[in-house]
Subunit: 325 residues, 4 copies
Amino acid sequence: MSEPAVVQLAHVELISSKPEETLWFFHDLLGLEESARQGQSVYLRGYEDWYHHTLKITEGSETALGHVAWRAASEEALEALARRLEQAGLGRGWHEGDLGHGRAYRFVTPDGHPMEVLWEVEYYHPPETMRTALRNRPQKRPLRGIPVRRIDHVNLMVREVAPVRDFFMEYLGFRLREQKIGQEGQIVGAWLSVSPLVHEVAVMRDATGARGRFHHVAYWYGYPQHLMDAADALVDYGVRIEAGPGKHGTTQAYFMYVFEPGGVRVELFGDTGYLIFDPTWKTVVWDVSNESDLERSSIWFGGRLPETFYTYGVPSMAWETARAR
Amino acid sequence: MSEPAVVQLAHVELISSKPEETLWFFHDLLGLEESARQGQSVYLRGYEDWYHHTLKITEGSETALGHVAWRAASEEALEALARRLEQAGLGRGWHEGDLGHGRAYRFVTPDGHPMEVLWEVEYYHPPETMRTALRNRPQKRPLRGIPVRRIDHVNLMVREVAPVRDFFMEYLGFRLREQKIGQEGQIVGAWLSVSPLVHEVAVMRDATGARGRFHHVAYWYGYPQHLMDAADALVDYGVRIEAGPGKHGTTQAYFMYVFEPGGVRVELFGDTGYLIFDPTWKTVVWDVSNESDLERSSIWFGGRLPETFYTYGVPSMAWETARAR
Amino acid sequence: MSEPAVVQLAHVELISSKPEETLWFFHDLLGLEESARQGQSVYLRGYEDWYHHTLKITEGSETALGHVAWRAASEEALEALARRLEQAGLGRGWHEGDLGHGRAYRFVTPDGHPMEVLWEVEYYHPPETMRTALRNRPQKRPLRGIPVRRIDHVNLMVREVAPVRDFFMEYLGFRLREQKIGQEGQIVGAWLSVSPLVHEVAVMRDATGARGRFHHVAYWYGYPQHLMDAADALVDYGVRIEAGPGKHGTTQAYFMYVFEPGGVRVELFGDTGYLIFDPTWKTVVWDVSNESDLERSSIWFGGRLPETFYTYGVPSMAWETARAR
Amino acid sequence: MSEPAVVQLAHVELISSKPEETLWFFHDLLGLEESARQGQSVYLRGYEDWYHHTLKITEGSETALGHVAWRAASEEALEALARRLEQAGLGRGWHEGDLGHGRAYRFVTPDGHPMEVLWEVEYYHPPETMRTALRNRPQKRPLRGIPVRRIDHVNLMVREVAPVRDFFMEYLGFRLREQKIGQEGQIVGAWLSVSPLVHEVAVMRDATGARGRFHHVAYWYGYPQHLMDAADALVDYGVRIEAGPGKHGTTQAYFMYVFEPGGVRVELFGDTGYLIFDPTWKTVVWDVSNESDLERSSIWFGGRLPETFYTYGVPSMAWETARAR
C-alpha cells in the first residue's frame, strides 16, 4: 500500500446560469462564508473548512461542473502525478493557480470530468469579529442559515464505472471502499477514498449513457438534527428537495439531496456514516441484481430515490473553455 | 377541578439598561422576530409564537422585570379574576392595553411581582416574504441565529414560597405539579401549571431573603441539538452561560441558563420534559433535606448549579413606575 | 368552552393473530414493559406511562382493533357521558372493568369503532429493581430496544369524516385543531384534541369506503434521534416500515409508520410537533384540492406516503364479541 | 511524512477487581457484544467494531490497565517496529498472540504503560440471528442498553508529557494534533493520531506525579443524543458520572466520563469532533497559562471538570505479571 498521490478533496467549481440565486442558496441557507470575489466568481467555504475556499461559483451561460480540485500529498507527489497524467494522455497542463492556492496541474478523468491537483494552499484568516477562542476551528460559527461545516465529497456520473474507478485507484491512490454490481457483473457504482472517510469520490453509472456529467457535491453537518433543520428551512424557502432525509445502505450516510437554484444537485450529509481504519479493508460489495441488496444499498430507511437520481446530472465544462476565461 | 382563570403565559416585559445589546442577544442569537417598536420598547416573538409578541424589551436605567402577562380563559374569566384580585388587595387597576392586546388588569403577586391578565389578543401577520406554506406555523423559520420556537415559562424568586404558590393556585387556577421541601418542611420551590406543561410558572425561595425578584424567562426549542447549538454559539459570541446544558430532575427539563447582556437570566429549554394529562396528578415531592433528592432534583445529569443560581435575580419594576411611562 | 367529558387517551386494545410476534415487536423492539398477563391478553405500557397499561394485546383469530379507552374528566363526567351516549344509541353498556381500571362505559363511534370511557385507574408500581430516583418518572428507563416513552394518539379510518368528527366534539368534548378539505368541500381528515396536543384522535376518510376501520396507534419518543434509531433497528430486524421518518405538514409530527407483525399500523412519533395553548384557536384548514396544500399537508419533508396509507386498515372487533370473551 | 508504523487502535485490556459488575456495565448498559470467554477473561466489541474484540476484561486482584494494542501498517512494519523498540530498550518480546489476533510484540511506553503491536487480526462473524443486510456493518444493532458503536481512543497519564509524546511520534508514527502548554512552557497535554481522528492517544500530565497510569478508554457513539441517553440511563442505574455531557475545546469532543464499577474511567464520545485531512496540519496550541485558553480548552460548554479528572487514574499492570498468566 503506497502512499496515495492525493490526500484530500480541496474544492469544487460550479458554473451557474443563475449566480445570484446560487449564491443565496449557499450563503444564506447553507451558511457558507464568502472569502473573495474576482471576475465572474465568488469563493466560499464552510465554517470548518481551513483553506481559502472549498466552493467557487462562476457565472456561466449554462450550469455545469467547472472543476474538482484535489490536494496532493506533497510537492513531489504533485509533480510525479502530473508526469504520470501527462503520459496517460489525460493531462491538460499546468495552470498558475487561483485565489487561495498555488500552481495546479489540470487533467480529466477517462470520462472527461475536469479536475486539477495542487499542493500549495492558502489558509483562511477570519476578520477580527469572526475570530474564535476555539483554536481548532477557523472561525466563529455563523449565525446565518443552517450552516454546513465542511466539504465532504463529490459524485461523478460516468458512461462506464470501471475505467474511472481504476483511474482513481491507479493514478490518484484511492482505495475501493464499496461497490455495486448489477446484472452480468456490470459495475454500477464505486465509492473510493484516500482517508478513513468511505468516500471522497463516488462514481456512478449514468443511466442515460452520457459521459462526463456531475452528480453532486456534498457538504457535511455531522449532526443529524441539522439535516432535519435544513430540510425544514429548504422547504419553507422554496428549494426543491429531490430525496431524503434518509439513510443510504451504501456508505451509511444520513443524506439529503437538493437542487441549488442553478440546477446542481447538492448533498447535505447529516452524520459521519462510518469510518474505515482497517488497512486490509475488503471492499463491501452490494449485488444489486438481487432485490434485497438493490433496495437496502440505496435506502436503508427513508423514502425511495426517484428516477431523476439516476438520470439527472449537469455537464462538465471543458478545461479548454476554462482556459479562455 | 374548576376551569382555571388563566390559560397561558402571554408575554414578559424586561427592562434593560443595555437595550441594544439585549436586542442583539434576542434577535441575532436567539432568532426572535421584531414585531414593532414604540417609545422605548421593542416587541419580539419566537417564530412559533402566534400572538403579536411574547417579549417586550424596554430601555430603563436599571435592568428589571417589567411585568408578566397571562391570558385569561375568557372575557368573563378576566372580569371575575379582576374583581377577586381587587378584593384581595393585589389589584393595581385596569390598563387600556398595549400593542398586541386589549385592556389588561394589573396586579402583583403577594411577593410583589408585577403581572397583568388580558383576554383580547392580536395575532401576528408575517410580511409577504415570511409567509409559509406550513399552515400551522405563523411564519417561515428564521435564517438567523439558533432560533427559539416559543415562550415557555417564567420563574420567580420569592421570600416565602407558600403564599405565592397558594396565590397562583387559588386565584389564577394553577395546579401544583412538583414541589421541593427542605429542612423542617420548608417549601423551597414549587412548579405550577394550567396546562399539561409541568410549569408555566415556578416559584423558588430567594436565598438572599429578598422579595419580588425575577429568576428567568424560558424560551423553548423542543430539539436537544438546538440547545447544544445555542451553547456553542453563545460561547463563541461571548455570552455567559451560567449552567447547563444539562437535565434537571425537577420537570425533567433539558436546560441551559444564560445571562442576556442586560443581566436577566434566560433559560433555553431543549426538549419537552414531560407532559401531565392525568386529572388526578399527585404533586411530585422532592425532599431536599436528603442528599439524593437534593442532588437529583437539581441535576439529573450535567454540571452542578452554581451558587448564583440561588442568589442572583433582577428586581421587579413597580407598576407605579410603569404607569408613569 | 365547557370542560371536556374526557381528558386523556387511556389505552388501546389490539387483537393479534400473531400474538407472540406482536409482543416481540412491542416488548423487545419498542421497549414496552409488561404489567400483567391474563387470559389471552398481555398488558403493556411505555416507561413514562403512569397507569397500569396503555396497550392490551389479545390473541384472536383475526387482527383487529379491540377497543380504545378514554379517561373521563371525573366520576360525574363519566356518568353524564354514559347517559348521553345511551340516549344517542351509541352506548353498549357498563362493564365492570379490567386489570388496571374500574368500571367502564362501552360505546361505539358513529362509524362503529369500539370505545370505552372510565374514571378509576390503577397506577403502575415498578418492581424494586426498576424504581428510579427520578420522582416524576414511573420507573427506570428500560435497557431494551428503542424504548418509547408514552402513548400519544389514535387514528381512525371512517366512511365519512364529518359525523365522527362531530361526535368527538359534541359528546366527548374534543376541539377541532386541523382539518383537510378536498374536492367540493368534502372533509377528508380531522385532527382533534382535549389537551394542548394537536390530537389525541385523528379521523381520516377511508379511501376504500369501508366503515369502522383502525388506522394506527401512536407512541411517543419526543427525541427525533430515537425515531432514526428505531428506523435503523426495525429494518435490521425485518419489520416493515410503511413510511417515514419524515415530517407531516398536518400536526407537524416527525413521524414513522410501521406494521407490527400482526398487521396493525403503529406510528412512532419523534418530536412534540407543536402544542396549542390558545383558547381561541382557529382550526388550521388545508385545502387539499390544491396541489400545494395536498403535498405540504401530508409531507413537509421526507418520502411520499404510499397508497396503502389511505387504503389499509384493520377492522374493529364488535363489542359483542368482546363481551363473549 | 513517512507512513506510520501503526494505523489503528486495536484493543484494550482492563483488569477488574469486580469483573461481574464491569461486564454488566459494558454489556448491559453500553451494549457491547461478547465474542468469547477464556480463562479469567471476557472479550467484547462494539457493534461496529470489525475485529474479534476491542475490549478484554480480565479478573484481577486490583483494577488496572492490562495493555493497549495497536495494529501495525503491515507485517513488515510490525517487524521493523519490533526491532526499533527492542533497540530502544522498551521492547518486552514477542507473544504468540491471543484470541482474535496473531503474534504481538510487547513493549512499554517511556512512562511504563504496557502495549503491544500486532498485524494479523481475526474478523468477527456474527451468529445467524445477528447477521445484517447492511453489508458495511458487522452485525445487527444490539437491542440492549445504549449501544456504543466502536472503540475510539485511549488517554494516558504520565509523569512527563514530552518524552511519551515524542515516543509516539518517533516510534509509532503519530502526528501531534493538539497540545496544551502551561507555566514556563511545560507541556501538560498532547493529542496524537495516525488518522484523521484528532487522537487515537492522548497523553496528559499526572497531577500527582505518578508514572504509568491510565486515564481512560473511549467508545464512540457519533450521535449526541445517545450520549444524553447514556447519561440518563447511567444515572438511573447508579453508575457514577464524573463529568459531562459537555464539549471540550481540545478535540471538540462532545464527551462524558464515567467510572465503570471496577474503577476505570471510560469516556463516551457523542459526536465526531472534527477530522484532520490537511497533510500540513499545524498543531493547535492552547496556552493554559492564560485564563481563556485554560477554561476554553477543557470546557467549551458544560460543567467544569472536577479535580479527580487530573488526579485519578488506574495503574498499569506490568507485562511481567501478564506473562505469568
